[in-house]
Amino acid sequence: MMRSLLTLLAALMLWAVPATAQQGGPLRLEITEGVIEPMPVAVPDFVADTPAAQEFARSIARVIAADLTGTGLFREIPAEAHIGRITSFDSPVQFADWRAINAQALVTGAVSVDPAGRVVVRFRIHDVFSGQELGQGQQLVGPRDGWRRIAHKVADQVYMRITGEGGYFDSRVVLVSESGPKDQRVKRLAIMDYDGANMQFLTDGAAIVLAPRFSPSGDRVLYTSYESGFPRIYLLDVASAGRRVLPTLEGTMAFAPRFAPDGRTVLYSLTQGGNTDLYTMDIASGASTRLTTAPSIETAPSYSPDGRQIVFESDRSGTPQLYIMAASGGEARRISFGEGRYGTPVWSPRGDLIAFTKQSKGRFHIGVMRVDGSEERLLTASFLDEGPTWAPNGRVIMFTRESQGPQGEARLYSVDITGRNLRQVPTPGGASDPSWGPLQD
């Protein structure tokens, strides 16, 4: 069902590296809280070194440019404005041509298809004004249907070398694909590239599925399904799409599953006698441990990246608020004190921020706060925004936005953690509950 895993060979090529070029180089884009003037970048079509590579030469450059401009940190100088032409990857770049159009960064590349039918991409990143390469040229090899991944990997390198931070383009998102009217909505588990490409269904829509979560390595997915008539937690293997239900007591409801950072433990909510509490389960043995015992609702948990703490949602104070406790349970401290209701906390991969959903004065917001609850910042506002998930580098948040009324529909959006660059993520139809997976190998 799933495409075969790519074996991308990221062989470092040592050609033509100027002795003076430093890793990171002189061209630098600091990602700060202030207003950023996007960096002008040129991504001319890659050079096709073999006839069979012709079909990829332009597409790969387009995906790289879309990744970069999609961050809001880069602005592409369109091909019509280019003076220079890259006709040979190995010929020296005429930097004056690129300076003249004010490009600061230039990405050049060549594509070929090798005798085994694999796509081979070489690329270089240039600092136009110093006339030097940023880091070393690289070669990436992958199967034909993996060409978008190769492009994403190039873009990740550009992002990393210019911002000094990890990228997030070669990553996937597991989500719920939605169709049908609001009162009979069909929900199917699906997986796609971070940019909405290559969407594939993982379930058939016969049963309601909710809130999937990627495993830390991206090989498995936890989700809630009504397949049995009652909400239960399922574990799905991404490569085979094979799934199994996790054992929970008859007469209970289990939902809101999350992987621990070690990938071996599931943190989830179990409802028994109308009371919802947090539990963990060892996946291998199926043995569960209860973490909370309050008569209030405890749900929507999330581990800290080191696995030592849990942030979760509880209405023990009367309204849903955010709390942090040790991973083993015990006393919890409240961290949300603003006006309104707080839910769906998700710890950032860097560990410093918690993203959440906030309801206040009839509006929904996605926001972030520090782990101690300080510096709350609302990033979005709409009729219904919910369920944030973090990009692997902790710079961008994806979430569900549902529109109002009988024709209301859910779509995915992304926004960066400063509240800039709000964008709809293109999906073939309705979509909700994204979970952003790790950068792929």
Binding site: G180, G229, F230, R341
Partner: protein, 171 residues
């Protein structure tokens, strides 16, 4: 087969029209459960022993205030009728479906719907219905019966619906 599938088979066997959508994805999994397919159950509403009477004359659902799971006086009156019917018609079991309106996050609303369903279950048990004839499930905000985005619809969506099925077919 699962409990729910059997319920659906039973419903189909009673020649009912609850599920008219030919889409295979709606053919099971409760797409119409609790959706208030009012014409759904067998018999005539004038026959006090019929599920139709339970659904229409007694009322198969109770409504809740925003964020609440407490039973109003009106809800208790409806549930008194439900309990009496269930005590008389012992061939039936029931699944109590709890629901929430869309003003809340998905997982919290699941837990809230479970609270509502549980409140109904506890009340029915307190009125003499055997606990093992009742099961609860929450759909959270996944299955609204009304689809507008204002209080007139929300009020009807904050509900717990007692869905009958014939005894002995449960899992």
């Amino acid at each position: 087969m699962t409990y729910l599938s059997k319920t659906m088979i039973l419903v189909a066997g009673l020649a009912l029209a609850a599920c008219t959508n030919p889409d295979r994805f709606d053919s099971r999994g409760g797409a119409n459960l609790g959706g208030g397919a009012g014409a759904g159950l067998a018999g005539s509403a004038s026959d006090p022993r019929s599920p139709a009477y339970f659904q229409q004359a007694i009322g198969d659902r109770v409504l809740f205030a925003v964020d609440q799971s407490t039973l109003s006086a009106a809800a208790q009156a409806t549930l008194d009728g439900q309990a009496q019917w269930l005590m008389t018609n012992r061939d039936y079991t029931a699944v109590i479906e709890g629901h929430a309106d869309e003003q809340g996050t998905r997982e919290y609303n699941l837990a809230l719907g479970a609270r509502r369903a549980n409140a109904v279950q506890e009340y029915l048990v307190s009125r003499g219905v055997a606990g093992n004839r009742l099961r609860v499930v929450s759909y959270g905000k996944e299955r609204p019966i009304e689809i507008c985005s204002n209080e007139s619809c929300y009020a009807k969506n904050r509900r717990a619906v007692t869905v009958l099925s014939a005894a002995g077919l449960g899992s």
